[in-house]
Subunit: 133 residues, 2 copies
Amino acid sequence: MLELEHTDVPGGVAGELPNRCGDVSQVLARVGDKWTVLVVMMLAAGPMRFNALKRRIGKVSQRMLTLTLRGLERDGLVSRTVFPTVPPRVDYELTPLGRSLQTPVVALGEWAFANLDAMNEARRDYDARREDL
Amino acid sequence: MLELEHTDVPGGVAGELPNRCGDVSQVLARVGDKWTVLVVMMLAAGPMRFNALKRRIGKVSQRMLTLTLRGLERDGLVSRTVFPTVPPRVDYELTPLGRSLQTPVVALGEWAFANLDAMNEARRDYDARREDL
DNA sequence: CTGCATCCAGAGCGATACTG
DNA sequence: CAGTATCGCTCTGGATGCAG
């Protein structure tokens, strides 16, 4: 997890964000890990069982899905409901907090979609320039 | 870097985001790393020299700042200008693409700021519940 | 001042096997 | 079906030292 000094930003980041960059980073550490966003996106469709989720995401290990879900549950973004049946059944569902996270994440996703070509081109150019040394 | 299967999402993530979750993840891998967002935020104030940037951020190693800046430069988010003086001077500055990234990142930052208390409380509750086993 | 190279500890994560 | 435990690899990232 991140832990930053309280570096006071004088300017003010486009005049909007308070100088609590540590907070932003902390949340980004949660959101930025390998599977969190995928899980949140998948759960947007509604409650889902463990293996359904696993199949949807595709190439996630059972271990990592469990860990990611535990983390999200701990942060209050996902709720976990156990049905004491046999075989056991566990449903995962976004909490209101988790659903509210979708708004900024979707915004980021739209930025990603809109600018992916530009980024790929920039990368190609950069790599090409680095080859003729 | 992430590399996901092309898992087609039928539902559609709140009906907004296309089923290109891979793209989102790829960008998140860039944005989600430890220093990227901090650097972008700092550069929001305007062009900055290497050490000025380093001092602003505070507890970043020289190595990681260099690596982060190279990555951002490669992705076309930051431009690097060398002044062939002595001692050498290098200015880093957000490109238009980099500046456009601020919008969604600031949105995420505002979400973080608004919901940090809720998340911390959720964590406390979760940890407390786990203690009385 | 800037920025590479090296070394090294630790985190992240996948594969596998096992339990209720 | 859901979850835990263990192993081992890779990658991150911090510290240090050297060079233009």
